[in-house]
Symmetry: C2
Subunit: 445 residues, 2 copies
């Protein structure tokens, strides 16, 4: 994603209904937790009890025979509303892709487009088992509204992108101030506000410094693209006299609140520094391959250094879906292929990256099915051809599953999907298809 969108007058639309129901208590009967049959009792938004036979009565009971209970996924780097550009432009050189296709469309984006694009993204994520996403795009309050209506967790903020132009920087600061203010007002347990300086190749030093100060002031997540390509590194050395990581470290952007996306071209010293400073890394293997970034994340070095490596899909213009099953698989495949080591990133590690590590990066106490954890859970349908036999559930989830295996998605105790049904799906599909078509038509005019 790149250029800044135009901002239409703030929408004054009330929350869309139907919204997911909130139950005081929820009982999941007879699900498989790894290799034991258990009941899971959820009170409010937390897992209260896990036991083979729970007799407590609950407001809502789900019969889960033939289903496994697993933690839901955390997608730590995406541009949700870019669902509208899914399949719009692929397989072309980066500058042509951006300049002739993506930017002209983004220049026409209205807040209503963003809203419906994000609604579509939330639907796709719920359908494939994701209950948290870390977003970077325009009009974050409309992304937030879409996520709140869908019932899934979001961390988002306005992208900051001044293209080294002082006048534009002032505009960006004003826009960011206003939009972050809006975000902070709605922040709660499921919504987090982030500051999102796009990258060292699109934001001036003064811009990065402003972002640093705002992040510190509000103790916000700082979400940035970092060392995605070799060119980004080389250009940074030329312009800033430093590679991207030491450059933003010097400015003070690296902390445990930092989520750095891509990080493909970090060197060993930089990896150690990121580890020391507690920075979270978001690995985006599908996007890295589709955009031919030329190398793969140095996963083993990051693991050895103790970095919290998480998993993201990136936006739909460079993936083109939001399915974390596919991203887990490609994550492991790419590591094995690139390092020539078949044993690297076994299924269980890929699964942890997509669940507990992702949640941890954002301080969300989820990612494990354990008493006391937040109730962000999936029921996986084991009666599926690609989940049979069940020699190893985590291997099946990472190497064989698709969205179709996810039967039930629960976030913060709310049932967002049951038997693959999400309320309001039809309207979201129709409306998102329509705005996407209109958007592309406008961009071509």
């Amino acid at each position: 994603m790149g250029a800044m969108g135009t901002e239409a007058p703030v929408l004054q639309i009330p929350f869309y209904s139907p919204r997911p129901k909130i139950y005081m208590s929820l009982l999941i009967k007879n699900c498989l937790l790894i290799d034991r049959k258990v009941d899971v009792y959820i009170e409010g938004n937390r897992i209260k009890k896990i036991s083979p036979d729970i007799s407590e009565r609950a407001e809502k009971t789900i019969k889960a025979d033939g289903k496994a209970v697993v933690p839901s996924y955390a997608n730590t780097h995406t541009h949700a509303a870019m669902t509208l550009m899914r399949g719009y432009a692929d397989d072309m050189p980066l500058h042509k892709w951006l300049e002739d296709h993506i930017w002209p469309v983004e220049a026409k984006l209205t807040d209503e487009d963003i809203y419906w694009g994000a609604k579509l993204a939330c639907l796709e994520m719920i359908k494939s088992g994701t209950t948290f996403f870390n977003d970077m795009y325009f009009h974050p309050r409309h992304v937030t509204r879409a996520a709140m209506e869908a019932g899934i967790r979001v961390c988002t903020g306005p992208v900051f992108l001044d293209l080294f132009n002082a006048e534009r920087r002032e505009e960006e600061i004003k826009r960011n101030e206003r939009q972050i203010d809006e975000m902070l007002k709605v922040s709660d347990g499921t919504v987090k506000a982030a500051i999102c300086p796009h990258s060292v190749y699109t934001v001036s030093k003064a811009g990065l410094e402003w972002c640093r100060d705002v992040a510190k002031e509000h103790n916000m997540v700082l979400h940035i693209h970092l060392s995605e390509t070799e060119k980004e590194n080389a250009d940074s050395v030329k312009i800033n006299g430093l590679r991207p990581a030491p450059y933003i470290k010097k400015i003070g952007l690296l902390s445990p609140k930092t989520v750095a996306a891509h990080c493909v071209w970090l060197d060993e010293g930089e990896i150690k520094e990121l580890a020391r400073l507690g920075v979270n890394v978001s690995y985006n293997p599908v996007s890295n391959m589709k955009l031919s970034v030329g190398s793969a994340l140095k996963y083993m070095q990051m693991k050895a250094a103790g970095i919290n490596v998480t998993l993201g899909t990136d936006g739909c213009a460079s993936n083109n879906n939001l399915d974390m099953h596919e991203s887990m698989k490609v994550a492991a495949l790419l590591q094995k292929f690139h390092t020539n080591d078949i044993t690297i990133m076994p299924a269980a590690e890929a699964f942890d990256m997509a669940t507990i590590n992702g949640m941890k990066a954002f301080g969300i106490n989820a990612g494990l099915v354990e008493e006391g954890m937040l109730a962000d859970l999936l029921l996986v349908n084991l009666k599926k051809a690609n989940m049979t036999p069940n020699h190893n559930l985590l291997s099946n989830l990472v190497y064989s599953a698709s969205d179709s295996c996810i039967d039930t998605t629960i976030c913060n105790g709310k049932v967002l999907m049951e038997n693959r049904v999400v309320e309001g799906e039809e309207e979201i599909l129709t409306k998102a298809a329509k705005v996407a078509e209109q958007l592309v038509r406008k961009a071509k005019m």
Copy 2:
């Protein structure tokens, strides 16, 4: 796959029912063919007419509003019954994987295991839109029976694997003679018999020569693993004085009836020779990455030389699913990543590899939705989050789709799945899970 299975007495079980219904005529109303709304009229096993408004009455009518019609997929390299080993052993060094896990299980395989493993594979393929698979494994008549019951096309034969042992070669010849004879008896429009010398590193020269002669005698497909790893090349030079491709060319194994799987480590001269001799190549990107084969198919050189490049999933022990959507996507991603060229293998080429190219390699007149072609078709549900918006159907199918988008699968005019329902699914899942569990238990004893 490696060691030879034990063969139990031939099963004398009648064909399983329910089998897919055969209609004299089938009318698909209101489907989207690229960008026009059409009806498709199928008579017997062929597409008779495609037109915006067909008034002919048919024995069966499918309302396809909101669905696109596309050709179904051809999976040109797999070991179908290895579904039983899905997730059984991953992420370990090759020799440990084979010697400690795969071979001990294969040594216990009965023909009934193969049958249920293949039934599970056929179910998974139908669910994800594949109507033809090229198989190499043990007990091919039971694979064939599974495919015939499921109603999908198969090319299969007994794997030939003498491990350079003269005594074993004689046994293999006897077994192959008997099993090929059985296969030839049931061969028809949807069943093809193949001869399957495993590879140059597992079959003696005399064994390869025998395979060559049998293939010629019966004008059969010859299916072989070729240049999958650098080690295979180096070992062949050491043992045979030639790299694998020139070695089997010299023996006379290369012809337009040859399907060579993997071909990752061919050099430019070998590619030109394969092209000249009309050999079909099966690209298996997911398996290549999961098994860390160290390089990627030289797709551009193959394309330039005019080789018919097709797509395979490989078996479930090294993938771990049979979904051609994923294989199309990883095929394109791996090419882009490995060559550093974002424009290589655009979506439409990946789609052709998975459809028309695959069918062509086996002389099946399918892979295109056109009048006169065999009726191997899919109805794709466009009302899915990951298929919305529909800027470009082929891009969505290659880069975003999953099995859940396939609504209806038609093979040879027969409706194998409608509204995602395959008759007999529950029993196949239950039985395959059971035999897989028993098999693994036997192998551990």
